[in-house]
């Protein structure tokens, strides 16, 4: 159907409007991170910083004597977040793809019941699990360790990975597998030599979603960690607001740094994000 020029113009105006809504807050976040304290606290508001500075970033990456405690430890929390998110991703990819393969291709007792159970578990909120998990962590001295975060993150990451991988395995034609079996491959050989290699888009997509969700996670980290030993980035950022003197510049810088890995990953692997979303991904 052909459109009149006026209609195209109107649609283009709407595109610009949505783009403004998307980019204005982000632009303000970035601008605030490179503004001086004096400019941030000036009225009337200055939209473009007169003296842009990277001091806030320098404070985080090579902290000096006068740097605040939160900014000083921010680097360590970035590392903690990375360790926790990558471990969770690695564990769920291995266990999740094995379990998903079994659920989709092998007949065994209670298969359907387990599949639906996993679908249901995926939706259980963290708040419903946190009290017993806290008691467990306290009893085994796991509070303030990355390990407790890795264990508890599996509660949402594993069902999610199983379910997403199952959706991907379902799209692989069964004939392919039958052919491999006729050629003398065992089940496991078929899985490792045929199925997993051609499901690599599914693995990338699942890994990406799990990593982003774990990087994003706040509630368990808030409850289970309070020291630098395991504290993750979201907790560190929330702590910037807790102080009575709020250092807006550092806070916004922390925000930019925390957002860069997930935003870059999502943009680079855009294609996988969209295919994951259509498979019904859960991170909202």
């Amino acid at each position: 159907m052909k459109r009149k020029p006026l209609q195209t113009l109107l649609l283009f105006a709407l595109v610009l409007l949505v783009l403004l809504f998307v980019y204005l807050p982000v632009a303000w976040l970035v601008i605030s991170s490179i503004s001086t304290r004096a400019e941030l606290l000036s009225t009337p508001i200055r939209w473009i910083p007169q003296n842009p500075t990277l001091q806030n970033y320098i404070n985080i990456f090579s902290p000096g004597r006068s740097t605040s405690e939160v900014a000083k430890t921010f680097r360590i929390t970035l590392w903690n977040s990375f360790v926790v998110a990558s471990s969770v991703t690695a564990i769920t990819l291995v266990m999740g793809s094995l379990a998903a393969y079994a659920l989709i291709r092998l007949r065994f007792p209670f298969r359907r019941f387990i599949l639906l159970g996993i679908l249901g578990t995926r939706m259980i909120p963290e708040i419903s699990l946190v009290i017993p998990l806290y008691l467990f962590a306290a009893a085994y001295r796991l509070l303030n360790t990355p390990l407790i975060l890795i264990i508890t993150y599996l509660s949402f990451a594993l069902p999610f990975a199983i379910w997403l991988m199952a959706a991907f395995f379902q799209t692989i034609p069964i004939e392919l597998e039958d052919a491999a079996r006729i050629d003398g491959c065992t089940r496991l050989q078929t899985l490792f030599r045929i199925i997993l290699p051609i499901s690599s888009p599914g693995l990338v997509s699942t890994g990406l979603f799990v990593f982003l969700t774990a990087w994003d996670e706040f509630f368990f980290a808030l409850i289970f960690t309070s020291t630098v030993a395991a504290k993750t980035v979201p907790v560190a950022i929330a702590e910037f607001t807790g102080r009575y003197v709020v250092d807006i510049g550092s806070m916004m810088t922390g925000g930019v740094l925390a957002a860069i890995p997930p935003v870059m990953l999502s943009l680079i692997f855009q294609r996988y994000i969209v295919s994951g979303l259509t498979a019904g991904a859960v991170k909202g």
Partner: protein, 298 residues
Amino acid sequence: MRRKLSLSQQDALLGLALIFPSLVIILGISLQPILSTLYLSLFETSRGIESQRTFVGLGNYGNLLTDAVFWVTIGRTLYFTVVSVGLELVLGLAIAQLIHAHPPGWQFLRTSLIIPWAVPTIVNGTMWRWIYNADYGALNGLLYQLGLIDKYIPWLTQPTTAMNLVILADIWHSVPFIALILQAALATLPADLEEAAAVDGANALQRFWFIRLPLLRPAILVALVIRTVEAFRVFDIIYVITNGGPAFGTVTISYLTYLESFSFGHVGRGSALSFLISLFTLIMAFLYIRILYRPEEQ
């Protein structure tokens, strides 16, 4: 002499072996804690999470159901859920349609939508909290310069306004998610139906209402259920933007559970609340499964 297993028996054994590790973990860190929460909710614990417990049966539930604070909190949570998810669906569908119409710049728009979705929730909240700042915030600065307000407004000191602004931040984060899902669904719809209807004289609104919307129904329902479950348990964004304030005015059900369990030391009561949230989630999960696995698709 060893009996040789049949192929199907081998498959069944292998299946159980492959699923076993995951099953142990899920049972251990999801199912067990839910049951344990149910157990803890039958006791009263008034001095912190590791203090002495007294058995009170269903007392905690009775207290909750007769407590005005509980019902006000439920009401507030429903308000947040209905308003944010409702607006997100409408806006998400509108943006999906916009992209689907392929105006100039649609590909850049689609890519850009990934950004708000990928920004971590806590960063999102912190950013909006700074935008809403009463003395130096960008919202006040912008509205003042446009002449829409004549003095700066302390946005987060009034409960309803604070809640609506939390909803705005949530919309910024979640509309892209819905728009991307629906846009992908739109791209798979057959074009010939709408073209045929157009030839038969159906106008744009009729084509949308009678053809496109029914075809999109499954995708919309999936997005709706996922977002409803998420919105009902909202915590992070409220924690960062308002901290539950002003005067507990933005405390939702998850936030109340957090306060009862970890700030006030009422672990029994917190457990009861948390079990009620599990029940609600299970009902929603059941609905979700019904939508995904309708009998005719099996």
